[in-house]
Subunit: 238 residues, 2 copies
């Protein structure tokens, strides 16, 4: 609400780390903190590998404009190896994306036009919306125009959910992400094999209180693979 | 498994921020990354307020020993104000702590003796344990000896869960937290009114794959208030 789509900042930070010559492994965890709005114009990302272990690497990142820090982040990159594997969570039971109508936001927000969104549950409340007892939103989503999925694109999609408080109260108000975390479960090869297909994104909130709420989300593919899990704390004024 | 209880490091970092003269507000979010084991002896915590806004403040923290960074963290502190409030999640339906037997860990691990744990579900697997289909653990827990709850103590309790993969596979193996996040939902006054009573802590994993799994947890009080929500990514060797 007070700057560009948070997901693009998250993606730019992740990509900045991926492009460092000394990067070791693939993304495992990323936390991004939104300190102040990034404004139109140039920005600098400084990425520092604080420690490189045998199997993982820890980063601290700052994004600044004119010397003013706008975003901070920490990231863990790591090597992956074969171990026992299990997806314990279940994806929501939904229709295929081809059987769900694409839907635009009720008001034209620029970044939302960069995604094709097919809401299965909890679409953006319209002007005549009622409060909802559930904060759950589930949608099929892909880049528009379609673009092969990669770690940066996946990280951006973790911020594709509009603020949960809009859904609960049935109206739009001031709200913005303060801090978000992404845990990456997929390998680079799995993302390549995903191509530009839709992902199934689902999210719900746990507690709303005194100007903040948290939300937790999952990003699935249509084969039932859990690609990423994600969490946010969001500021709101009701 | 390769250092002290992560929760004590998390608590020390949070307290270090709370003790800064320019701190603004109370804890809202904290992410701690475990780069290398903290060893017995002195450690230094450097806490830097990167930005102070009207209603919140962003911190970057590094914990080091002999110049070697062992832990990094980012934190958001903030002012709280009255807004619409709702707890959307439900606490697990469990017996009162007085009706559950306290239980020690099967092997004596030092930090576990600093907590009184009354497991309702998913206790630590013993030597003859079988694999479990669920990674859920739920327990009543408080400091031992009892100690009034504060933000640092609450943050430490967010790391009170043993690794979920032990429960799923019914055995102990090498595992350790790489990064954890805590979202604080309570005010300082609410924590004071909680006193030294038990909290109800519950956790489950979402995906285990290629040496990592994630887990999500909630910390409740017995009145059904959701005090904190917490997430981790954990390394394991199976």
């Amino acid at each position: 609400m007070v700057g560009p789509f948070g997901g693009i900042t998250v993606a730019a930070i992740l990509r900045a780390i991926e492009e460092q010559p000394d990067v070791h492994g693939d993304p495992v965890a990323l936390t991004v903190n939104f300190l102040a709005p990034v404004v139109d114009g140039e920005f600098d990302i400084s990425a520092r590998a604080v420690r490189t272990n045998r199997s993982n690497q820890h980063w601290i990142v700052e994004l600044s404009q004119d010397g003013d820090v706008k975003t901070t982040a920490t990231a863990v990159f790591g090597l992956r190896r074969d171990t026992w594997t299990d997806i314990e969570s279940m994806p929501p039971a939904v229709a295929a994306p081809e059987d769900v109508e694409p839907q635009a936001f009720p008001v034209p927000i620029r970044w939302t036009q960069n995604y094709e969104m097919r809401f299965v549950d909890g679409a953006v409340p319209g002007l005549d919306a009622e409060p909802s007892e559930s904060s759950t939103t589930t949608l099929w989503v892909r880049d528009q125009p379609p673009r092969p999925l990669d770690f940066a694109g996946l990280a951006a999609m973790c911020d594709v959910f509009y603020p949960r408080v809009f859904l609960r109260l049935g109206r739009v108000m001031a709200a913005g992400t303060i801090s978000m975390t992404v845990y990456f479960h997929s390998t680079r090869d799995e993302l390549i094999s995903h191509g530009d297909d839709f992902v199934l994104a689902t999210v719900h909130a746990q507690r709303f209180a005194r100007g903040y709420f948290d939300q937790s989300g999952q990003i699935w593919d249509r084969r039932g693979e859990l690609l990423a899990t994600t969490h946010q704390i969001v500021y709101f004024k009701s």
